[in-house]
Amino acid sequence: MEQLVQELKEHLIEELNLEEITPEDIDAAAPLFGDGLGLDSIDALEIILILEKYYGVKLANSAEAKPVFYSVNSLAEYIMQNRK
């Protein structure tokens, strides 16, 4: 889990082009949207691609997106549960 969290942070930085942010700067429990990293709806689309591209995980139901996308930890948990 810890390794997955670290990996996710690196993918987020790379794919979302987060300037001057290192994996250590990202609080895995902090909200990704609004506060915390301050991501927006375009970033949400990029995160969907990260899940699918790197972990083969598809978000089956859009209603579950909000809790899944809450933080790096929640993303990691979702990947753990749904990874093929």
Partner: protein, 269 residues
């Protein structure tokens, strides 16, 4: 038609930290190299982001558009078999991205148009700016051009033999044009024309110069590189020559044998 030129800035002139010119990190991180270069040039030209508030027209020009993002998006389509396509390169690859990003910095909803007419793009944008000012539709216009070179674009042009005599190039130039002369005015643009046939230096002088001591800047591609925005660099050069004491500069550009365009920059007499 005439309008006053308050400032002209090229990408090479920009020395200010990008974080000061584009304070919004959210906007900045999605920008490709050419977008950053063009937007910072534009912001520097208007004297900082607050200067965008005063604009009543933003007119941009590009021959090639945001090439790197376009290539990235197209490459993704092939590699990912038209699945899993990242939205950012697609959104940012459109030709009017730069004009939009400038407006977004201050939520300026004024007239905002991008001309994509190959080597004529800058002159078409300039003509639009001059016409809007002449018609009283705008009085404070930001007009500029930008183009970027990418390795693949370079390879294609090289195979076409484009760089046998002229180097490649890229860059951005922005100018602020106004209807009224002010203390900031450094020159004026008094004519623009689009031609069906080539002219020599002497023919340019005969047809477009109004003063005996006029200077002719003829085909800037040899000096600035073979890319559409070279025309905008010749505009910056003309303004600089006037600032250095020339009374009148006639600029002629003919790119790849395409129909030529001419404009005239004069001192404020």
């Amino acid at each position: 038609m005439r309008c006053y030129i308050d400032s002209v800035v090229t990408a090479q002139d920009v020395a200010t930290d990008i974080k000061l010119l584009i304070p919004d990190a959210g906007l900045r991180r999605r920008m490709s190299r050419v977008i950053k270069s063009a937007v910072t040039t534009a912001v520097e030209c208007v004297g900082g982001t607050e200067g965008i508030d005063a604009l009543d027209a933003i007119i941009t020009a590009t021959g090639w558009g945001c090439l790197a993002d376009s290539e990235k998006f197209l490459r993704n389509m092939i590699v990912e078999h038209e699945q899993l396509l990242n939205p950012t390169p697609f959104i940012q690859s459109t030709f009017n991205t730069v004009g939009g990003q400038i407006a977004l910095l201050r939520h300026n909803h004024c007239y905002n148009v991008t001309y994509v007419n190959r080597s004529h793009s800058f002159e078409d944008a300039l003509l639009d700016a001059m016409m809007r000012i002449a018609d009283g539709e705008s009085c404070n216009v930001l007009v500029g051009a930008f183009d970027e070179q990418t390795p693949s674009q370079h390879r294609i042009m090289e195979r076409m033999g484009a760089f046998r005599t002229v180097a490649d190039g890229e860059g951005a130039v922005f100018a602020r044009l106004t209807a009224q002369r002010s203390e900031q005015s450094v020159a004026q643009v008094t004519a623009i024309d689009f031609l069906c046939q080539s002219l020599t230096v002497e023919q340019c002088r005969e047809r477009y110069a109004t003063r005996a001591d006029a200077t002719v800047v003829y085909n800037g591609y040899a000096k600035y590189g073979l890319f559409p925005t070279s025309a905008a660099y010749t505009f910056a050069e003309a303004v600089r020559l006037v600032q250095q004491g020339e009374s009148e500069v006639v600029v002629y550009n003919e790119y790849f044998g395409a129909a030529p365009a001419v404009f005239r920059v004069q001192c404020i007499g």
